[in-house]
Symmetry: C2
Subunit: 336 residues, 2 copies
DNA sequence: CTGAAAGCGCTTACAG
DNA sequence: CTGAAAGCGCTTACAG
C-alpha cells in the first residue's frame, strides 16, 4: 500500500502531525521543513488517503446518480451535465443503473448511503408517493430528475411533461390528424395526460383508444407500433414517449411496407442528437437534457453546502422549457 | 448524522463490539441479543458507515472508470457493460469524463487513487508510452479499453483496429472504389494504418492523400467531410473513424446537394444502436461494445482478487472480434 | 515552530 | 456469550 504520514514522519524523526500540517501548507510549519517533507512525499508517490480524511472530516466529496440505463442517450447526457458541473467543485460521482427496477433502486440508494455520498440525484423507477416521502426523510440532500410527481416533497428539475405532450399533440392536430395514437411509458403518465387533454380540447372522444404502453427503448417502440398497426382503423399519427421509441415505431412501419410520414406521421420526445439523422428526420419535443443535469447538480451542491443552515432549499422545483422541433416525420393531412 | 454502533450499544448498556458482531450475524452472539440489536438498528435507520469499514478493511468495493465522454454512445455502452458486471459483485463505480484532455485524465486518476478505488478501467486520452509505463507502476490494477498501444505493459481489452479498418477498406475496394478517403481520429492511427495497408495491397499509391483528421463526434465528422468535399477529385468513398463521424459526413454531403451512396459511399465504425436508422442506414464495422466493458470488468475484478498472489494477470490482452455490417450507405461502382 | 493526544466508526485478536 | 483494547490514516484543538 501507499506510504502514510507516519512513515514520512519517521523518515525525518518528527511527529506525523507536523507532516500532516506541512502537506496542507500550514504556515506555521517552517519553510524548510515543508519543502523537504513535500519533496520526500512526492518522491515516494505519497497519495493522501481520502478515506481517512473523509472519516475525520465527514466530507466525502462524492455524490451519487441513479438512472435507469446509461445506454439511454437521455440519461448519459444528463449524467454528463451533472458530472461536468460537480467536477469543477471537486466532487466525484458514483453512477448506478437500475434498469427500471425499484428494488435495484432501493439497493443502490442504500449502497450510496453506506458509502456516505453527500447527495444523490435520482431519476426514479417509480412514482410511488410513499417511496418519495421516505426519500425525503433521508438526511443527504436528494434532487429528482426526469421522473417525479409534481409537488413531491423533494427538489426536482425537469420539464412540464403535460404541457410538452399537449403541444406536440396540438401540432399533430393542426396538421389535420384525428386518429392520433400515443405510445406511452410506464411512468410517463403526464405526457399521456397532455396528449389526452389536447385530443379532448379538439373535441375528440374516446381518447384512450389509441394508447398503448411500452418501454423506453427502440425495441419497445417497435413492438408497440406493431400493436397499433393491427387496428382496423390505423392511426395516421403517433406521439412516441421517447425518440428511441419513435425510431422503433418508424422501423415497424417500414417493415410493414408503409411509409413515414406518407402513411403514418411520427412525433418523438427528447430530441436526442441522433434524431436529426433518422429517415425521415424526426420531429420531436426537445428537452434541454444536459441543462437538466447541470441544474440538478447545482441545486444538489447548494443543498449540500447549506445542509445545516436555513438556506437549504429542501424543495426547489425547476421546470425547464421545451420546444417542438419540426423536421420531416409528420405530414399535413389533406382536407377531405 | 446517522446513528453509530456506539449509540446502539449505549441503548442496551453493552459494548459496541458486541453490536458490531450482532450486526454481522456473528454466531457467538446470543440469538436474543442479536435480534433486539438488529431490530433497534433497523428502527433507527442505522446505515453502516462504509467509510469506517473501508478504513479498517482496506477494501472500498469501488472501482473507477475513465472515459473521454459519456455522451458518446460507445462509452456509455462500455460503461454499462462494466457496471452491470461489477454490480453483481457488490462494487460501485466512479465515472470520470476527460473530454480527451490528458491533464484531466491525470487529475481524475489521482482523485480515484486518493479515494482508494480498488481498480481502474481507462480509455485513455493519450497513447504516450511513458505515460503507460507510469500507469503500470500504480499499485491498483488497471485495465485499458478502446485505446492502448499494442503490447502495452498493462491489461487491455478491445478489438484489432488495424484488421477491422483493413476489412472495411477492402470492402470498399471490392465495390470498385479507388478514391477512398479516411477521416481519422487523433488516437486511432491503427485504424488509419489498416486503411492504408488495404489501399497499398490494392496497388494504390499515395494513400495519405485522402486522409484527414477529426474528432470523434458528429460535428467533427461534418467539418472533416467539408474538407474532403473541397478536393478537385472528390473521393467516392469514405471510411469514417466512428459512426458519429460517419453521420456528420452524411450530413455534410447532403448539405452540399449530393447523395449517399449515389455520389459518395460512407462506412462507419462502431455500429452504435442508432446507425441502423440513419438515411441511408449506415454500413459499419461492429464492435462488441457492451462485451468490451464486461470483459474489462471481469479482468479487473479478477486482478483485484488476486492482487497479492501470482494469479494476478498483470497483462491480459483481449482482442474481441469485429464484423462488417453491410447496410445501405455504400454503393457498388460501375465498371468503367 | 513542533509535539502529544484524542477522535472519527468500525473490526478483530485477545481475554475471560 | 460479552468486554476492553488497539488500530486503520488522518486532522485539529491544546500545549509549550
Amino acid at each position: 500500500m501507499g506510504i502514510t504520514t507516519r512513515q514520512i514522519a519517521k523518515q525525518f524523526k518528527i511527529h506525523h502531525s507536523t507532516v500532516s500540517r506541512a502537506l496542507q501548507d500550514d504556515p506555521r510549519i517552517s519553510e524548510a521543513r515543508r519543502k523537504e517533507i513535500k519533496q520526500f512525499a512526492k518522491k515516494k508517490n505519497y497519495v493522501p488517503n481520502m478515506i481517512a480524511k473523509s472519516f475525520f472530516s465527514k466530507k466525502t466529496y462524492t455524490i451519487g446518480i441513479i438512472v435507469s440505463d446509461l445506454t439511454n442517450s437521455f440519461f448519459s447526457t444528463v449524467t454528463k451535465g451533472i458530472e461536468d458541473f460537480v467536477n469543477q467543485k471537486d466532487y466525484s460521482v458514483f453512477i448506478c443503473n437500475t434498469d427500471e427496477s425499484i428494488d435495484e433502486e432501493k439497493k443502490d440508494l442504500n449502497t450510496l448511503l453506506e458509502k456516505r455520498v453527500e447527495g444523490i440525484i435520482v431519476a426514479s423507477a417509480t412514482l410511488d408517493k410513499k417511496y418519495f416521502s421516505e426519500l425525503s426523510k433521508i438526511e443527504a440532500p436528494i434532487v429528482l430528475i426526469d421522473r417525479f410527481p409534481l409537488n413531491a416533497p423533494l427538489s426536482y428539475v425537469g420539464i412540464n411533461n403535460f404541457e410538452a405532450a399537449y403541444k406536440a399533440t396540438k401540432y399533430l392536430l393542426s396538421l389535420g390528424h384525428r386518429r392520433i395514437a400515443h405510445i406511452m411509458g410506464r411512468l410517463e403518465s403526464e405526457r399521456m395526460q397532455g396528449y389526452s387533454q389536447a385530443l379532448k380540447d379538439a373535441g375528440i372522444k374516446n381518447t384512450s383508444n389509441y394508447i398503448t404502453q411500452s418501454g423506453l427503448r427502440i425495441n419497445d417502440g417497435y413492438k408497440a407500433m406493431q400493436e397499433l398497426l393491427k387496428f382496423k382503423q390505423r392511426p395516421t399519427a403517433v406521439l412516441a414517449v421517447t425518440d428511441a421509441v419513435g425510431m422503433g415505431a418508424i422501423a415497424a412501419i417500414k417493415d410493414e411496407g408503409l411509409d413515414v410520414p406518407r402513411d403514418i406521421s411520427i412525433c418523438g420526445f427528447d430530441d436526442i442528437e441522433y434524431s436529426q439523422f433518422t429517415n425521415p428526420p424526426l420531429t420531436a419535443i426537445r428537452q434541454p437534457v444536459y441543462e437538466i443535469g447541470r441544474r440538478a447538480a447545482e441545486i444538489l451542491l447548494n443543498d449540500i453546502k447549506n445542509k445545516h443552515s436555513d438556506l437549504r432549499s429542501k424543495r426547489t422545483h425547476v421546470l425547464l422549457d421545451t420546444e417542438l422541433v419540426i423536421r420531416k416525420s409528420c405530414k399535413k393531412l389533406k382536407q377531405k
